[in-house]
Symmetry: C2
Subunit: 483 residues, 2 copies
Amino acid sequence: MGILDEFVPIFLPKSHAVIGASNSPAKFGGMYFRSQIAFGYQGELIPINRDETEVNGKKAYAKVTDYPGQIDFASIFVPARAVPEVLEDCLKKGIPAVQIITAGFRELNEEGKRLEEQVKSISARGIRVIGPNCFGVYSPKGGVTVMPGGDLPKEPGPVAFLSQSGGYAARIPRRAEGLGIRFSKVCSYGNASDINECDLLEYLYEDPDTQIITSYLEGVSNGPRFLEILKKVCQKKPVIIWKGGLTESGSHAVKSHTASLSGSSQVWEAIFKQTGAVSIHSIDELLDTVSAFLHLPPVKNNNVCVIGGGGGIGVAAADACERASVNLPVFSKETQQKLMLVAPAQGASVRNPIDIGSPFPQPKMLEGAMDIALSEINIDAVILDELEMTPVVRDGKSNPANDARFEPNKQIPIQMKKKYNKAVIMVLPVEGNGADFINSEIARRGVVNSYQQQGLPVFLSLERAVIAFSHFAEYWKFRMKTA
Amino acid sequence: MGILDEFVPIFLPKSHAVIGASNSPAKFGGMYFRSQIAFGYQGELIPINRDETEVNGKKAYAKVTDYPGQIDFASIFVPARAVPEVLEDCLKKGIPAVQIITAGFRELNEEGKRLEEQVKSISARGIRVIGPNCFGVYSPKGGVTVMPGGDLPKEPGPVAFLSQSGGYAARIPRRAEGLGIRFSKVCSYGNASDINECDLLEYLYEDPDTQIITSYLEGVSNGPRFLEILKKVCQKKPVIIWKGGLTESGSHAVKSHTASLSGSSQVWEAIFKQTGAVSIHSIDELLDTVSAFLHLPPVKNNNVCVIGGGGGIGVAAADACERASVNLPVFSKETQQKLMLVAPAQGASVRNPIDIGSPFPQPKMLEGAMDIALSEINIDAVILDELEMTPVVRDGKSNPANDARFEPNKQIPIQMKKKYNKAVIMVLPVEGNGADFINSEIARRGVVNSYQQQGLPVFLSLERAVIAFSHFAEYWKFRMKTA
């Protein structure tokens, strides 16, 4: 049996037992059970409870072995001390895989460590285990969601997320939703008593539904195996890793969370260098980087042209590019002369960054500048830096006549991207965070959505855009060099 | 005449001539004139135009010398070559100060350099000049606004902003508005032919309406004088400096923008070290840092306690704190035992960061944990990291019953801040950026406003919060050490 088949019960179960499902509103097993219903699970959902005969209108069974049909997958919510017995039942029933959501194992104390050893030895006799101490699986295609995830998006997408943190397994898909990022498989695997990051990477390497792999890791169980698999995977799909606990203070926090050995920052630097995996350090950086990989065509280099309105913004852009190790090639004299013909006569810079004179440029200027920049062989990407693509609306005073003024400029980046099939990147900041700017934000989000649908990633600041682009370009440089 | 009196015509003019005001919708002078009307200027606004006899219903004069009354301040929009003659008129009329918005001076070419020398020599005969090549002044108390600033906030606040970039002089007050940040005086001073950053710092040192000074600088005209003034000012008011052009690429961009000598990064590092001025690198970092100074009581150290819901978020918080040089002291065994009594029994960490078990904690747990942390002598600030203070609303499905569940937790940070008068810092990220999350964002902004009104700064991520707090704590450490 190949790894794809082996993981079918986990990510695409036809029947799913929830052990510890309950009608009680406060119990996690009950909350989880209702989350699956809310999420719209299409297979057979089977409540298992020793004391309740019916949960949410569905007949409940005391044990999985009491259920007459086949069970593909089980989620375990009983207290830690009861887990080994329940897991034995699952093995006996022939359930191929389970997730143990319950915490209180090796991360807690000696007793927990002993319980986890029991879980391991039962698992070794023929049942795959995710967890314990995790939030489990979110798989839109399979209709399965993590515990507090009944309202997560139902549409699948090409991004996978492996997480040693349960919280992030729910938080990241939610935060990603509005950025147009959807997930193929998310797996919070906690203490990794059986299935670990290596197994999941092997699976995602093969998984045709996954194009981009992201992860939050605190430690790995087998360094050499991890390195070998990661090398292989990065040659096929980008792997973006948030390694928690790289600082001294962070590595102490890891001990009380998943009890992983977090590894030194030097070791991890070497891992990133040898594999081409992308190292990031926050939710925002993770999602920004995914946005770049999701929307941009592969690049050979990290040569960027920035177009902005105003001299100060050009200076800031140049600083930000250099800090992110993104290259801003100076245009040749010929190109500068061509740009002078389209840029405003006075004061504008055409060296790169291009100062287009105003954050609300004439459509002809914008089109001309983009056309010249994108036709340069040594330009991999054009970034439009805080140009005004939507009106700034305060106190709800939007008016259609004003909105219409923005239409011509709005379409140009999309047309130029189509013409050159090069990376076109938008920076559209939140203009005002206040309550009376909400109509500006509505307008901005509408424009963001339309750009994303056309394959143009949108970032909240130039600094964030160039960091994401830098990760993207470094990955492609590494992959092309080592392919 | 003291410096405060000398700057009255600039920031609080009773009469203001706009030279180049016009009925033409495309001309900058006309746009500026209408911006001042829209902004609600209460003094005498006087259009000056050689060809138009009336602008926006107001009688226009060919020259300032034709106007019968006194003129406090003039804004000059005529082409660069006509500026010296117009400035002579202003001197003749006895106008104490002008701003020259027109570009095309030393930043452009030799001819511009010559024109700027003429401006300087006229100014030296008795008229103060802001600019040329600038956006001028925004002074809510004086009713004056920068060119594209008719809709900027009319309420003044305690923050000043000095800018060598015109664009940022308009952009930053707008971006700040929703963060509860208001300005005393903003001055885009461009090429600084007469009034420069040193003069403005001297003025703001005295200005009773300014408590926090921010700036975007590309270069300084007189290094030793700047250093001396900056040292003095930092002992009275924090000075937050965005130095553009610190990288090689950025310093090239500076040349074509304001033609300043941008100075090496080593020189600037030394300036920051010797003065205690705060160095920041982006709009977001500038506004985050202002938020910290605006809301937090002075601190002796940078010892922080982070309270979050979930183990992964604790690891990430520890990493972020260490990267921002913020200290997370480990609680004593006694304190940890006290915390264990309020924290959830299993799996939670009480070492610091405190893992309160869930991003939506029980009010008693939140109150207990904050109470214990804030009563520790060596804790300067408590950060609530992504706790859910508002419901996440999708598709407009807000309901009052659900909203009410959040009320008890919402009040606790405010009560705790009052009880201890210590820094309490909120991290409330945008939960979803998508169009169908707009009701979540409305709820979030409402809560952000209410915290800010109570002196609790709110940040979009922990990383941003700890960087801002680090700047804040470093400033106070320096000031207390050198006072």
